[in-house]
Amino acid sequence: MNAELWPIASPLTHVDELRILASALDGVAFREVVLEHPFDDVWDFVGDIERSVPTFDHLVTSLTVTARDGAGVPTRIRVGPLRMPMTIDMHHGWCLMVAPMYLVGMAAQALDPGHTLYGHLEGIPPVGPGPVRRLLRRPLKLLRRRHHGHVRRDVDGITHELARH
């Protein structure tokens, strides 16, 4: 029996990964949209986080990269106006920004030469030992509605900025 002949499910895309993460975390909101722009155009804009994030997120006044790895990829940022430090995991089509009490995820996947699936996650993930997380579950779920509004505005902002460029 040749195991390689058996059917196998498709590999997960970065948007799939973000969608799964959002479904597993009580305190975050997630939205995905099809953007009528090529993947490279979308990621050239979104991935340039120092420039892009303050333009589409009305709560962010500035975003500064404070550390980069050997390849020049950002690994730490500071987000204004609270000067909130965040660690960042970033590569082509994927960006996860993590602070102790906040989480932002952005992912993109080319659908065809002119369309890109974009996913955006944001919110307060329940972190800590099991009992603490269980205690936080209910209040975080209540906050999720607010995060949904924030994520919708961010995605609308990205759509608007892409149309301007």
Binding site: W6, D16, E17, I20, L25, D89, G128, G130
Partner: protein, 164 residues
Amino acid sequence: MRRAQRGDAAAMVGIIRELSPYVRRLCGPIALDRADDAVQETMIVVLRNLGSLREPRALYGWVRRIAVRQAVRQVTGHHDVALDGLTELDERGDDPFERCTTAWDVERLLADLPPQQRAVLVLRYLEDMSEHDVADILGIELGTVKSRANRARTAMTQKWAEQR
């Protein structure tokens, strides 16, 4: 693993990336054209319940159980997967998959079986598990498994004969 259990998002992404190739291999033959959905549902259940796993070495066995049940559920649409009626493979008989020379052959044979039987085939052929372990994972009595031996293999053998 411990970081993911505490809700560390970056570690949870690491768990998704580590486990998904294995989950894709389990869900593919059971859920077939619904396999991609089954993989995502499995990963969500795994992440939401990761904190309940006390022994990290048991991770893959625990994930296997979730994946197989989610894959069957995805195609049957049942929240409580009815696993009674699963069949066992006859150790003495031929392996019908030996005759398959292409992925299309394998998929065609699997597509004519109920998802519960496909789950048994995956555990016996791909995972090389014993009858006892298959019964344990699927939550049915070993006696029930044994009493229904051969059904999947017989069906596949007949199908193969019809197709050739």
